[in-house]
């Protein structure tokens, strides 16, 4: 990979809560190269969305910061576009108008009206949505909404594409289809991408690197896995590939052995014998250990 694009430098964040500050992230360090595709994976509630929101500029890091092209960023900017977890289209605007809303502030004064229209249509074409340009979100299926969300982000011509579980709510077939589109688009446009996912296969298939996060609170980067599979990648060919399955195994081991999700234990001392309490307690400390 060529050149450092985005850097998270000992990022930490505390959320104020009624019970005092809650430390969601602690000392997150990550260097991302130009054009790299990075996946964030980790158990629910560990702080993946929080990391993404800090990079997007929606949240302010309490400690450390995000450096983009050598400059610290503290607020949303045109060079970073976000695809939200729940598509977040405006329900009163059509697919076209939703994309237009993102395009206008970016290209104001740079593109003529006709160019702007062409550009919006082009981006909707990238995600194969030209047949439903003038439909409103409630007339679109879940996968179509997500595609419009991606088109809206792409149309801003961002350097960095931030995606929060973009395919999380979709069925397997639609998801596979959109993953292929995404790989294709990223291959042609060369954006830097950070994608959050829960899906191990998705992470291995799409990523150059997989960043595995430890459980919160005070979550941080646990392991980073380099995925050195050649591109373009084909899901069918990879299904039986030993290298692919090796990566898959590594991620699974991290998630289900090293970061085994332990539910918080509320032990009532009167009811439970002391030894059991001790055993459960050690299992917590073990699970907290970072590999």
């Amino acid at each position: 990979m060529s050149q450092l694009h985005l850097e998270l430098s000992s990022v930490g964040i505390d959320f104020p809560t009624p019970k005092g500050p809650f430390s969601a992230l602690h000392d997150v360090n990550l260097k991302i190269m130009q054009g790299e595709f990075v996946s964030l994976i980790g158990h629910s509630g560990c702080g993946k969305s929080t990391v993404l929101n800090i990079v997007a500029g929606l949240y302010q890091a309490t400690l450390g910061g995000v450096i983009l092209n050598g400059r610290e960023v503290n607020e949303p900017g045109p060079e970073r576009a976000v695809v939200f977890q729940n598509h977040s289209l405006l329900p009163w605007l059509t697919a076209y108008q939703n994309v237009e809303l993102g395009v206008k502030p970016v290209f104001k004064g740079k593109k003529t009206k006709a160019e702007m229209r062409e550009w919006i249509e082009h981006n909707l074409e990238l995600v194969h949505m030209t047949h439903a340009l003038h439909k409103r979100p409630d007339e679109l299926s879940g996968g179509m909404k997500q595609r419009v969300g991606i088109a809206r982000a792409l149309a801003m011509q961002p350097e960095v594409l931030l995606m929060d579980e973009p395919f999380g709510a979709l069925d397997a077939l639609t998801r596979a289809h959109l993953q292929d589109s995404l790989m294709e688009i990223q291959n042609t446009l060369g954006n830097t991408v950070i994608m959050i996912t829960h899906d191990v296969d998705e992470a291995v298939l799409l990523s150059d690197r997989i960043v595995m996060m430890t459980n919160g609170p005070a979550a941080t980067v646990g392991e980073i896995l380099d995925v050195k599979l050649a591109r373009p990648r084909n899901r069918l060919a990879l299904a039986d590939d030993t290298e692919y399955n090796g990566y898959r195994g590594a991620v699974l081991r991290f998630l289900y052995e090293k970061q085994k999700k332990v539910e918080p234990i509320t032990v009532k001392r009167t009811e439970k014998p002391a030894e059991q309490f001790a055993v459960e307690n050690t299992s917590i400390t073990e699970s907290k250990q970072v590999a």
Binding site: G57, L58, G77, V82, S88, L101, K104, D138
Partner: protein, 328 residues
């Protein structure tokens, strides 16, 4: 079913499904039943109420008064038409005799009929409501957008909201009397007083509901707005307004209802020549017809209030982006 189908052959031909019949029952027949019961109740009840002006009017007497009012309106209009034809012929004659004759064109001094009064009331309430809305909606938006502003304004709104129009009236009357003095006023003082009172009472529901709607815009959409870096104005226009329209209209409808109620009281005291004054004058008049005429006015007030609400509802479904939303 068999009785129905023998009576209505269309039913057996399968043109009208059982669901249609049920809808018809619920939509038309049940309201009719309610109305008939009400009329019977009214008729019986009225006979048992003896007032100083005779027995309380039943539906029949009220209907008779209604046609009286319609007749009065017609005669008054005819008088006006006659007056003008008379005037033009007289002037034409005068000119024919002496081309240099001085011709006088006078205006008919119209005695407002019941229907003129309805019109005055409608104009007054709509002016007051319109003024209230153009103040309350922007205020509501500003207050809703800013948590501190909301905190600052909320106590004031809560204190002003429950104030009765009757409490405002003396203040408004005095203020208008001292501030609004001109030789040939564009509007009558009573009109201004009524409009301002209506406005003062109907500001608050719109303001509060708009603010609540604006403050309740989903966090996700606000994040979208921030990531797309929409300007403040676009943010308000494309995100805040559409998502707060339902709340805003809830407020507007409450406000219009209040405005209409307040108007009648305000007109009684401020002597604005509308329905309120009509009721008051009939009350003071105290003839044997008065009670029936007041009943006509009362029903008219109710029906107009209902129609105002329906109109606003129609505007809401026109303004709302979600045409499938059920508004009631």
């Amino acid at each position: 079913m068999s009785v129905l189908s023998s009576k209505f052959p269309a039913l057996t031909m399968g043109k009208i499904s059982p669901e249609k019949i049920r809808d018809l029952m619920l939509g038309v027949i049940m309201p009719m039943v309610g109305l008939v019961f009400f009329l019977i109740f009214w008729q019986v009840g009225a006979q048992n109420i003896k007032t100083s002006l005779g027995t309380f009017p039943g539906p029949k007497e009220v209907l008779a008064q209604w046609s009286n009012l319609v007749d009065e309106h017609k005669t008054e209009r005819k008088r006006e038409a006659d007056f003008y034809t008379h005037q033009t012929t007289r002037n034409a004659e005068a000119l024919a005799q002496d081309p240099a004759a001085e011709i006088k064109v006078r205006k008919f001094s119209r005695h407002p009929t019941f229907f003129d009064k309805i019109k005055t009331s409608l104009i007054t309430v709509l002016c007051g409501f319109f003024l209230a809305s153009i103040i309350a909606i922007p205020m509501g938006i500003f207050i809703g957008l800013n948590q501190s502003l909301y905190r600052a304004f909320n106590p004031i709104i809560q204190i002003f909201k429950p104030i009765s129009p009757l409490a405002w009236l003396p203040l408004v009357t005095l203020a208008v009397s001292s501030a609004y003095q001109s030789e040939s006023p564009l509007f009558a003082k009573s009109f201004i007083i009524s409009v301002i009172t209506v406005m003062l009472c109907s500001l608050w529901p719109t303001m509060i509901n708009t603010a609540v709607g604006v403050a309740g815009v989903s966090k996700d959409l606000i994040n979208v707005s921030r990531v797309l870096r929409l300007s403040w104005f676009t943010h308000v226009r494309k995100i805040v307004l559409p998502s707060s329209i339902p709340m805003m209209f809830t407020g507007l409808r409450l406000s219009l209802g209040i405005a209409w109620m307040v108007l009648i009281a305000a007109e009684m005291l401020a002597q604005n020549p509308g329905l309120g004054k009509f009721v008051w004058d009939e009350f003071q008049n105290g003839s044997s017809d008065s009670l029936g005429r007041i009943c006509v006015a009362v029903l008219t007030i109710g029906i107009i209030g209902f129609m105002l609400d329906r109109t606003l509802l129609a505007v809401q479904s026109w303004a709302n982006w979600d045409k499938s939303a059920i508004v009631r």
